[in-house]
């Protein structure tokens, strides 16, 4: 056994340990903390699997925004957390049996995968020249399977609309989340003034690097969202009212630009979302920039929650 596979086994063991902890922990809050640590370790696994783009997303979502979302929910419901009686032992045994069967079947497929596995990598490499981008994952996301990405952004928006629809009637159109207040000269406000400029630079860098290296619109947008939320938590700024026209414009900017380019492909090119070869790169980068703004706003608002205060 080489030291590399020893490391992989150790990593897999720690990941599994965290996963088990997440399932069996008695306290919801501790379970969620375990899940965040699990997401962080998963980023290491993705690096090991040579999928740095996915590692970036995993670090940004599981270790960052997703973790904060779940931690917040755990903290807010902890006070009234009821301990409903656990499922009947027979149910538990049946569930364990079912889970073991599913796991065994999946493990068998892992062993039965043909070697070399069927792959689209040569096709992606062969067509990379048509977009002028060096990152194959961005190529797949923005060109070869652009429809998926477009719909994914729509799903993100739909989730936000769904979340907003949970608001009480009198708060509709108001500001989401509580208004945070903090000492404007305190430590938190200091950090919230110092970090976002750095974060914005890193976010834009990740977006820009995404053309040729791991990175992209979603990863960049996540960082921007986190910086915005930091400023919100320090009370430096307030969430916009959801009826604000500017906010809504930002929210639809990404999908609209994407859709417009797609329809342009239908009118002037070969098919829906077909980029003219000469303009492929600027078009893709343009879509990504609009998308980053939309993603940052949507993710931030998804974390803040439903409107809780009526618009003044």
């Amino acid at each position: 056994m080489t030291i590399a596979s020893a490391l992989e086994m150790a990593l897999a063991a720690v990941v599994l340990g965290m996963a088990i902890w997440t399932v069996v922990a008695r306290d919801s809050f501790a379970a969620v903390v375990g899940f965040v640590a699990y997401g962080l370790l998963l980023a290491l696994v993705w690096v090991r699997l040579d999928a740095v783009d996915v590692a970036l997303v995993e670090a940004a979502i599981s270790g960052g925004l997703g973790g904060v979302l779940l931690l917040g929910a755990a903290a807010r419901t902890a006070a009234a957390e009821s301990r409903p009686p656990a499922e009947h032992p027979a149910v538990r045994a049946a569930a364990a049996l079912l889970a073991a069967a599913v796991a065994a079947a999946l493990a068998a497929t892992v062993f039965l995968l043909p070697d070399p596995a069927p792959t689209l990598a040569p096709a992606a490499a062969a067509n990379a020249a048509s977009t002028g981008l060096g990152n194959p994952v961005t190529n797949v996301l923005m060109a070869f399977r652009a429809m998926d990405t477009l719909l994914e952004k729509v799903v993100l928006l739909l989730a936000l609309v769904g979340l907003w629809s949970l608001a009480r009637d009198r708060f509709w159109g108001g500001h989401p989340g509580p208004r945070h207040r903090a000492d404007p000269h305190g430590t938190l406000a200091f950090l919230a003034r110092l970090l976002p400029p750095i974060g914005v630079v890193v976010g834009v860098y990740v977006l820009w690097a995404g053309a040729n290296h791991p990175g992209g619109a979603f990863q960049g947008g996540t960082i921007l969202a986190a910086m915005w939320l930091l400023a919100l938590m320090a009370g430096l700024t307030d969430t916009p009212a959801i009826s604000s026209r500017r906010l809504r414009l930002v929210l639809v900017a990404g999908p609209s630009v994407f859709l417009a380019v797609g329809l342009g492909g239908l009118c002037f090119g070969a098919a829906f979302l077909a980029y003219p070869a000469a303009y492929a790169k600027p078009l893709i980068v343009g879509i990504e920039i609009a998308m980053t703004l939309t993603i940052a706003a949507t993710l931030g608002l998804l974390l803040v929650g439903a409107p809780e205060r009526s618009a003044e």
Binding site: A182, D183, H185, G186, T187, L188, A189, I198
Partner: protein, 106 residues
């Protein structure tokens, strides 16, 4: 030259790992919150800093090295601020009541 750099790497990363060990042991064994915080900040600042120092000769390019240092500086900034906030939260919850999360009382 290569040999010298390797010595630097091994020394710095070992020292970094030692600080991580010290931080973790302190976090687990020290009796109260503030002493644990003391242990934690060593792992945070020195542990990561020494690992970054050890990796610098292997960064490959100037840009790679610059990013490594950036990671450390960010972690330093975050670590310093977060530990201060944690210390205030700890003091506040101990009932002294003279501190809040966001700053000292006037």
């Amino acid at each position: 030259m290569k040999f010298m750099l390797d010595i630097v790497t091994v020394t710095a990363i070992s020292a970094g790992a030692f600080f991580f060990l010290a931080g973790t042991v302190g976090l687990l064994r020290f009796p109260d919150t503030l002493t644990r915080l003391h242990a934690l900040t060593k792992a945070d600042n020195l542990g990561l800093g020494l690992v970054v120092l050890g990796l610098l000769p292997h960064a490959g390019s100037l840009r790679g090295g610059f990013k490594l240092v950036c990671v450390w500086l960010l972690a330093l900034l975050a670590g310093a601020t977060v530990s201060q906030l944690i210390a205030r939260a700890a003091l506040a919850s101990e009932g002294s009541g003279s501190f809040t999360v966001d700053g000292p009382q006037p």
